[in-house]
């Protein structure tokens, strides 16, 4: 039985070898091997090129600023959500999660809509919109990571500090902050990583002079056909990501011997004006940062000339020539859903196999578990470029073409499936299986009676997330999706890049539909989790 389990790791490993290791190898080989003066010359060239160095600086700089802004908004919100009990708190918690899974391009479109509608001389492209959009996404990371710990922290030390005469802020600094430090640092590293490798948002909101390394990789490959520079930039990016992940690994190892309590025990109802002001402040922050762009997106998608109408939505069925796409935008939506469904199915099969194998604990299986995380740390653009080079040119060209986009999306979604399912699988008490075995169940039947129902519920949650990720995936998809079969994020980005109110309206309308789709899926999944899986 154990050998059978381990065999399950073979599929995911093979998948990874063909769709990750090989394509990545092709990018690196093409860019670095055989370069004059040795393989590191292109990297050195990248690091000394003033324009690319500027891009690297910008990448670092905007990621740092984005992280700071995200923490500045996220920590107060986390404080309110984990310390105070008020009507609608659960709803706010769920709503804060939604932006994180919204497709990057949709968020870009939302900020285009918001900043375009603001009067006066607001920056509509460049650094400020980028860090706002990054904070929009990642506040949920902070709320989840920091709030997740905070709500379980014993409030007694802080109360004791208050009792000794400390102001609330001082009590927080003395008694609470030190215990949250690791969680805050971990959240900061994750946010930094996400914003450092940001692509869709920067492509949409960047403009000239505001490009991340990720965008430069895309530009080098598609605009200048300079694969050597693209590959060298990928190497730089990979090194930076590896360093960040190493920091993250250290933080995680250092974390948590904190005595935890049941969440409810740490929350208290609103008592004072200050409490009410804190809630109002947190909700206000969220409304400005997350509510306003989404509201602007929806409102402006309904705005035609000086009036209101559904014309932009009706035009999604428009003749293709007008849409500057090979298909009508609505067809792109159907296309996206089909591709994401296929990607979800692939990710589920691979992720479940890997999780089941990893739960068995054999070395090969643990390898598969770890290896499946690698695509998460690799830039999506590099992945897309590698897939393009591997499967759309050379001897493998044309093979499995139809499946290339779902496979690419599955590559990115599978780690989430493993991360969702594996803890649940590991958490199943062996005694459950033993008890059922003594009742007369064969090992196979035990799996059907115990593992399957529990894992399938986790699988449902994983499927929801995988679908949301796949349907919004942009960085890899933009390379491998055929222009004749575009996905919605690709169509949105194209439309945003074209002049004219009609194209903007179309992009916004498509963004609203895609946002609604992902938001709906994630909220449904959140219900399932609260309803059942969360209790295991």
């Amino acid at each position: 039985m154990r050998r059978g389990r381990t065999a399950l790791a073979v599929g995911p490993l093979l998948f990874l070898a063909v769709l990750f290791v090989w394509p990545l190898g092709r990018v690196l080989a093409l860019g670095l091997v055989g370069a004059e003066g040795g393989p590191l010359t292109p990297v050195a060239a990248v690091l000394t090129d003033p324009a690319l160095r500027a891009a690297a600086w910008f990448t670092l700089w905007q990621a740092a600023l984005s992280t700071l802004l995200t923490l500045a908004v996220g920590i107060p919100v986390a404080a309110v959500l984990s310390r105070l009990e008020f009507r609608g708190r659960r709803g706010v918690e769920a709503a804060v999660l939604v932006p994180f899974v919204l497709p990057t391009v949709v968020v870009g479109a939302a900020f285009v809509a918001l900043l375009g509608a603001l009067p006066g001389d607001v920056p509509r492209r460049g650094l400020v919109p980028i860090i706002l959009a990054h904070a929009f996404f990642n506040v949920s990371v902070v709320v989840r990571t920091v709030g997740g710990l905070w709500q379980h922290l014993d409030p007694a030390p802080a109360l004791a500090a208050r009792g000794l005469g400390a102001t609330p802020l001082r009590a927080f600094a003395v008694a609470t902050l030190p215990r949250l430090r690791t969680a805050i640092a971990a959240a900061a590293v994750v946010v930094f990583l996400f914003t450092f490798t940001s692509f869709g948002v920067v492509l949409v909101l960047g403009g000239s002079g505001a490009a991340t390394i990720e965008v430069e990789i895309h530009r080098a490959a598609t605009r200048f056909l300079d694969l050597r520079t693209a590959a060298a930039l990928s190497v730089v990016q990979l090194a930076a990501v590896a360093a960040t992940l190493a920091v993250y690994g250290r933080l995680r190892r250092r974390g948590g011997t904190e005595r935890l309590r049941r969440a409810a025990a740490a929350r208290r109802p609103l008592r004072s004006t200050a409490d009410r002001a804190a809630v109002a402040g947190a909700l206000g922050l969220l409304a400005v940062l997350q509510g306003a762009p989404l509201a602007a997106l929806v409102l402006r998608s309904l705005r035609v000339g000086d009036g209101w109408s559904l014309a932009h939505y009706r035009r999604l069925d428009a003749p293709t020539r007008e849409a500057v796409l090979a298909v009508a935008p609505l067809e792109a939506l159907a296309n996206s859903v089909a591709i994401a469904t296929a990607a979800t199915a692939i990710a589920l099969v691979l992720g479940l196999s890997a999780a089941v194998a990893a739960a068995g604990g054999a070395r090969l299986a643990r390898l598969a578990d770890g290896a499946l995380m690698l695509p998460l740390g690799t830039s999506a653009v590099t992945l897309g470029l590698g897939l393009l080079l591997t499967f759309r040119s050379g001897p493998l060209a044309g093979r499995g073409s139809v499946l290339l986009v779902p496979l690419a999306q599955a590559l990115i979604a599978t780690p989430f499936v493993v991360r969702t399912v594996l803890p649940v699988l590991r958490g199943i008490d062996d005694r459950l299986r033993e008890a059922v075995a003594t009742l007369g169940a064969t090992p196979r039947r035990v799996r059907r009676e115990v593992d399957l129902p529990i894992v399938s519920r986790a699988g449902l949650v994983a499927a929801g997330f995988a679908f949301a990720i796949a349907v919004g995936e942009f960085g890899a998809t933009v390379f491998v999706a055929r222009a004749s079969n575009p996905t919605v994020p690709v169509a949105i980005e194209r439309a945003l890049g074209l002049p004219g109110a009609v194209n903007l309206g179309r992009a916004l309308a498509l963004s609203v539909l895609l946002a609604a789709l992902t938001g709906l899926v994630v909220l449904l999944v959140d219900r399932v989790r609260v309803g059942a899986v969360g209790r295991f």
């Binding site: 490959a221 293709t320 199915a345 080079l389 073409s401 139809v402 222009a483 004749s484 194209r494 074209l498």
Partner: protein, 341 residues
């Protein structure tokens, strides 16, 4: 159980996406500016029993690069829209099959390339356009040459596009180098910068944003096309007798657009027919009003609005594709250093 249904549905959708019912499809990969009258395509489809799928891939540079990156499986049969700026790149990437188009002898010999893998389809000049009324109102002489633009009299009047991000921007930069030589050209660019030059990311920003005539901006001089004046007439809200904009003929740089049968085509035979369509009289006659470019055939009459309002330089300037290819990257970087930093 339910999951099986979902999988089946997904599979069905995927299969539907690549179904092969109906007539043979021939796919034209092109840039976003591609346009043609429906009846021209319809007649072609009827005649050959084909369906033409038009797939825009982004701007001209992006379209070629995507095809070059996927040369063995480009997902189309014909690529249209490789301009002279990128011709050598296309030939080096070896994306095309040799093809001698029917009717090639009707094409102006001046446009014929040295290579039988590409077929010229149209041409156009990128030139500085000016707002006729603006200069008339101020009684200011319209500049004539490139070097005139650096004259302090025209300070703060010119808008160009970034050659790194804009196809006409690149064409214009190449034109300055071709006309003046590299050293003098970048001296000029330094002077232009000192003369308060405006650089935009794309043509739209410049023409519909900064240009006094079309965009309500404050720049009466803008890099655009020689065909822009007839377009202004054609799309004027009220009929016009004279074009409201003019072209500085001595600033022009010519771009020729080519098409070719893709090496990775699925249906080479249909692809050849499609390339032939692109230089057929019907398509060529449709070019000026659909894409605002000029036909390469000498035996096609220009529409009236073009005949009346379009001007073309007598001695066009075209940079050799090989020279473009050798210098492009370095010149873009130098532009960046001289003008933008």
């Amino acid at each position: 159980m339910r999951r099986h249904h979902a999988l089946a549905a997904a599979a069905a959708l995927l299969l539907a996406g690549c179904g092969s019912e109906g007539p043979r499809t021939v796919t034209l990969l092109t840039h976003d500016s591609f346009d043609v009258s429906e009846d021209v395509l319809a007649a072609f489809e009827d005649e050959h029993g084909l369906r033409v799928e038009v797939v825009p891939l982004g701007d001209a540079g992006a379209a070629l690069n995507i095809v070059a990156l996927t040369a063995d499986d480009p997902g189309g049969d014909v690529l249209f829209g490789v301009d002279s700026t990128f011709l050598t790149r296309a030939l080096a990437a070896d994306v095309f099959l040799p093809h001698v188009a029917a009717d090639l002898d009707a094409v102006d010999p001046a446009f014929l390339p040295p290579d039988d893998r590409v077929t010229p389809v149209d041409f156009g000049d990128v030139c500085v356009n000016y707002d006729v009324a603006w200069f008339a109102a101020r009684d200011l002489a319209v500049p004539r040459t490139l070097t005139d633009l650096a004259d302090p009299a025209y300070r703060g009047l010119l808008a160009v596009q970034n050659p790194a991000t804009s196809s006409p921007g690149l064409a214009f930069l190449l034109g300055t180098i071709e006309r003046l030589g590299e050293a003098a050209a970048f001296d000029l660019w330094a002077d232009l910068r000192a003369n308060d030059l405006l650089v935009t990311d794309g043509w739209t920003d410049a023409y519909y944003g900064a240009f006094t005539h079309a965009g309500g901006g404050d720049r009466p001089l803008v890099v655009s096309y020689a065909s822009s004046p007839p377009a202004e007439v054609l799309f004027a809200e009220e009929p016009l007798d004279a074009a409201p904009t003019g072209v500085l003929l001595e600033t022009c740089h010519r771009q020729i657009e080519y098409a070719g049968v893709l090496r990775g085509a699925r249906d080479v035979e249909a692809a050849r027919l499609l390339v032939d369509l692109l230089i057929s009289p019907a398509f060529q006659a449709d070019l000026p009003t659909s894409m605002f470019v000029f036909p390469v055939r000498t035996d096609v009459a220009l529409p009236e609005v073009f005949a009346a309002h379009a001007v073309l330089p007598d001695r066009p300037v075209v940079m050799e594709p090989a020279r473009v290819d050798a210098g492009r990257e370095a010149w873009i970087a130098r532009f960046d250093a001289v003008v933008l930093r």
